[in-house]
């Protein structure tokens, strides 16, 4: 436990012991000395005597990696070739493939800082935020509907998504990014950007039900969502495990959990209208009669219970059609910002809850960060603290908080390498994985904190390392290959780069890009695309699915497609997109037959294969060889090899071009990044 943090904490908050609440608790030396809870070290960067090692260890990252590899009897892989590196960087930073011209430009740039220039170019691209914003949206379980039985749409939720994308593109310092999300409304009550950011506190699923409302129960669920995400997203601890009882493995007491929750005791939703009273009145005049009619019609439809009787069935269809027409006439909802505000007079008293059940109240608690990171007996914040979440954000973003910088540095590493230095990015506790390179992790976290929490600086640091630029191929020396695979099959010591399958969004976006169909429009309301009618009927309220009128919207990047909790797009689901119900630290990368069926028979791929075939003909001319070569360059970044050319030519003698185009969209060398 760093003395500096302790002093700073006392300075900021002035700890007051409050009586008649739960005990403030104490933590053993053993609990406090868990690696993630201790102050970061300033590790010495390893040095090497051998000239080749010195060359390879050109950055501190490389020195830490190389030292560990040598300790394990392993060695780094040769650098990836330029084509591979270009493709890797484009997908990594933009989530899109490089065009053949972009690959050629990189290969032809013989200057010594060609890679550095490319990294800068990509980091400056507006597409960067679309890719890295998605990583963050996974972590905060962003979705645009409530979930549960109504799965009500949140038509302005896209503003938060755009806020995240803007923040990444602007390289907003991470401490600022955290503070805005936790406490934007406390920073300013009239800055739209900050109000939108604070919508972070409302991203979780929300249960609403008709009938006898259990207000206390619903409030408890809302507070739970707000609390758990802080632990998972910012602190990398499974604080949620301590909701029902003291954490089984980590020094997080139940009282710690509820003290964290106390920061949110007065937080309520706040929809900030962005329309004038006149506009609102006009909206009401138009909507109210329609809503009344819709309600009546719904009543009629619900009375028809038999679908077996053809007359009743057709009546139901007719009424449903009428209903849909009415719904289409409803004026678009007026713009609003989803934010939160402190309502001190409605503050929920926070108690320890036995088994997490709101009815079983224990001792009352007030605000305090995690006790294991504070001195024993540290008191709670005064209940009258003016801006509670700002105080929490200050504690989280303090440069000496042992968790925050480590957790984010690790996320960045994981998204680049496909695997974190700590393999469990949301769990730095005892049940989580230990860091494979503790010194490197501390080095990166130190750099992150000392460079002003600039995420783009961290990207540069990592991407320009030799470790990142290694080949992903297995070593050619068979004896060494066998040794490396035996010693470290998971490649946790980074003796090569990890080949990675494109994530769902990358895959769909790449298909749109290579077929020439991508609509690069950025930002704005989310898009619903047409899907199989059978899927729409799986919604409790099928009328919620309203595909965009403008078909060019269907080719938008995947981050702009609606994130609906109760209906995930099959394409996304089958390729392991997270379910948005809980924080997702790292996606699975599974391999199974429904993926093949989606890519072979799905409407998305087949429509794009058609367009791809046309593109090959229109851009490469009549020459089949040129068409095949262009197809390979677009999908894999490289030229077709002679054997591939031969096989493709033979196929095209008898088979249609769209089938060849479809094949390209199914190739492993398209689906994977080396």
């Amino acid at each position: 436990m760093g003395i500096k943090l302790l002093v700073l904490g006392s300075f900021l908050f002035g700890w007051f012991a409050v009586s008649d609440t739960a005990p403030l608790g104490s933590y053993t030396q053993r609990e406090r000395s868990h690696w993630a809870f201790v102050k970061r070290t300033t590790p010495t960067i390893p040095t090497f005597t051998n000239a080749a090692d010195q060359t390879w260890a050109k950055t501190a990252i490389d020195a830490f990696i190389l030292e560990r590899l040598q300790k394990e009897g392993l060695k780094p892989a040769p650098p990836a070739d330029r084509v591979t590196l270009a493709r890797r960087l484009y997908f990594d930073l933009l989530g899109l493939p490089p065009s053949p011209a972009e690959v050629a430009a990189f290969i032809n740039d013989k200057s010594s800082d060609a890679t550095s220039k490319l990294v800068d170019k990509l980091l400056a691209s507006p597409h960067y935020g679309e890719r890295w914003g998605q990583h963050w949206l996974d972590v905060v379980r962003f979705a645009e509907t409530d979930g549960f039985e109504y799965d009500t749409h949140r038509p302005d939720a896209w503003r938060y998504r755009d806020y995240v994308i803007r923040s990444f593109n602007a390289d907003k310092p991470y401490d600022r990014f955290i503070t805005e999300q936790l406490a934007g409304d406390e920073m300013s009550t009239n800055d739209d950007e900050l109000l939108i950011a604070a919508g972070f506190n409302r991203l979780g699923p929300l249960r609403k039900n008709a009938g006898n409302q259990e207000v206390a129960s619903s409030r408890n669920e809302v507070l739970t969502e707000m609390t758990n995400i802080v632990g998972a997203a910012f602190l990398g601890v499974t604080a949620g495990c301590a909701r029902c009882h003291d954490h089984k493995f980590d020094p997080i007491r139940q009282s710690d959990y509820y003290r964290l929750q106390a920061y949110f005791a007065g937080v309520y939703e706040n929809d900030v209208a962005k329309s004038s009273p006149a506009e609102q009145a006009a909206w009401k005049t138009k909507a109210e009669p329609l809503e009344k009619e819709i309600k009546e019609l719904n009543g009629k439809i619900n009375k028809i219970t038999s679908l077996e009787d053809p007359e009743a069935a057709s009546q139901r269809v007719a009424l449903t059609k009428k209903l849909e027409a009415l719904q289409d006439q409803l004026p678009a909802p007026l713009p609003a910002l989803y934010s939160v505000k402190n309502v001190s007079e409605k503050k929920s008293p926070i108690h320890l809850l036995t088994r997490g059940e709101y009815a079983h109240k224990g001792a009352r608690v007030g605000m305090r960060p995690l006790g294991v990171l504070l001195p024993d007996g540290a008191g709670e914040l005064p209940e009258t603290t003016d801006k509670p979440r700002t105080a929490l954000a200050q504690w989280i973003t303090d440069a000496n908080n042992p968790l925050t910088a480590r957790v984010m540095a690790n996320r960045l590493w994981q998204f680049h390498f496909g695997r974190g230095l700590v393999a469990t990015a949301n769990d730095f506790g005892r049940m989580g994985a230990r860091p494979s390179h503790p010194e490197l992790l501390d080095y990166l976290a130190n750099e992150f904190a000392s460079c002003g929490f600039s995420i783009k600086k961290m990207h540069r640091l990592i991407l320009l390392s030799n470790a990142y630029q290694q080949s992903s191929a297995l070593p050619t020396d068979e004896a060494y290959q066998a040794l490396a695979l035996k010693k470290d099959p998971e490649n946790k010591f980074v003796w090569r780069f990890n080949r990675q399958r494109l994530e769902a969004e990358q895959l769909r976006d790449a298909m749109l890009a290579v077929t020439g169909k991508l609509n690069p429009k950025a930002g704005g309301p989310s898009v619903m695309i047409p899907i199989d009618p059978g899927l729409v009927t799986l919604l409790y309220k099928p009328s919620q699915w309203k595909p965009a009128m403008d078909a060019t919207e269907y080719a938008r990047r995947s981050v702009y497609l609606i994130a609906k909790r109760n209906l995930r797009l099959p394409f996304m689901e089958v390729f392991d997109a997270p379910d948005t119900q809980a924080s997702c630290a790292r996606r699975e990368s599974s391999t199974h037959a429904p993926q093949a069926l989606e890519l072979l028979n799905g409407s998305i791929t087949n429509e794009l294969a058609e367009a791809f075939a046309q593109r090959l003909e229109s851009e490469a001319g009549a020459n089949l060889r040129k068409q095949i070569d262009l197809g390979y360059r677009l999908t894999t970044g490289r030229a077709a090899k002679p054997a591939e050319m031969k096989a493709a030519l033979a196929f095209l003698q008898t088979q249609p071009k769209r089938e060849f185009a479809l094949t390209l969209l199914n190739l492993n060398s398209f689906l994977y990044v080396n």
């Binding site: 039985e149 719904n298 297995l474 998971e490 379910d579 037959a593 093949a596 196929f651 492993n668």
Partner: protein, 471 residues
Amino acid sequence: MPTEHYRITNTRREFLRDAFCGFGGMAFGAMLAAQEAHAQNPLAPKKPHLPAKAKSVIFLFLSGGPSHMESFDPKPLLNKLHGQKRPASFGEAKYQFVSPTATLLGTKRTFQRYGKNGIEVSDLFPQLAQRIDDIAVIRSVHSDMVVHSAAQYQLFTGRVVPGFPSMGAWAIYGLGNESQSLPAYVVLPDPHGAQEGGMPMYSNGFLPAVYQPTMFRPGNRPVLNLDLPKGVTLDQRRKTLGLLKQLNQMDMQPDDAEFSARLNAYDLAFKMQTEAPAIFDLSNEPQETLDLYGIGKPATDDYGRRCLMARRLVEKGVRFVCPVSGGGTGNLQWDAHSDIEENHTRMAAQSDQPMAALLTDLKRRGLLDSTLVVIGGEFGRSPESEGSKGRDHHNLGYTMLMAGGGVQGGIVHGATDDIGLRAIEKPVHLRDLHATILHQLGLDQELLTYLHLGREERLTETLGTVVTDII
């Protein structure tokens, strides 16, 4: 030290190891052949932890909450107290809609005794009653939520919030699939519409996408993407797949496990595409079987087809099948708020014969012993009336049925109090029901875990108790 599930694996050795992480009881190096199979197909059958009684589960989900008092749990006292307020001695209950001033509602149903032990069944289920000697009637089920979505999540996933894997996903995570050409976990939704809980109730939650349910569409072509796109012939597609394989093989090391698995996924996909449609086609069933299920009769045609489909699927080794009875807005489910008589008469008329036929058909084909059939909804209904003729949701005590798969037939387990309000004898929480289902499949609830966000998650969360009295 456990780590989260990992799949960045280029080598066969790694892949084999990873394919098994999360299985506490399985030692690396054992069952090499099985491992080989898993490297190629993550849904290849796996050995259960314990000797299994059941290979498959069919869950006849009666969505909306069927009444226990109108079906399998007769309450003479309720009829006597009709129109009166609930005596205080029965304790409190929270309902979603019923007001505190509501009075008790007697049932208009009549009950008769059936089977070797004379178990009482109402006149809504005359055909299921004929199968009572195959059925264990659990009259003491209880759960925690009184609203649909949360109760449906608990029924399927053990949790009252969305985001957790359903029992079907857990079953195939634990056991894989016996069929190579059919999906492992199938939901047959009611064509009237969906449930309040929506897709998250059936879903794989945080388990990898390979464990997701396959939602059947109505008709003979139920699986999305199993049909060839318009204008493409099977022969043409075979050639396309040939080219794909050829090109992929040119660009990989022969022992690259993940790429091999991907090649295999395409082979499996093609196999499904060519073999599955015949299994989905009910037209080659004999007329006698169609009649048994009530196919061709307006009321029972739809659910009859889906129950018959369930039999055909488990016959081919599909692990978990869920034909849903009821869907769409309230009264199209068993959600009898306004008129219990009208609702339950209609819903039972659609489902009684198909459910009974399924038991009959499974039994005569020798499949009932290896197929666990579970029947029930996300809760029961209130002894109090809602309005004058309806019943509200009720989670403190209600009935579910189990049959086959090693479950004793012709028995009653547990009891509610004399008005059907509360499970008072041998209460069975949903987590006990889940533990029992897993147990019959040979899965140990403590070993079937998956590390997610720092917790070893399991279907039964705080562990259930296997209902040994009925097995």
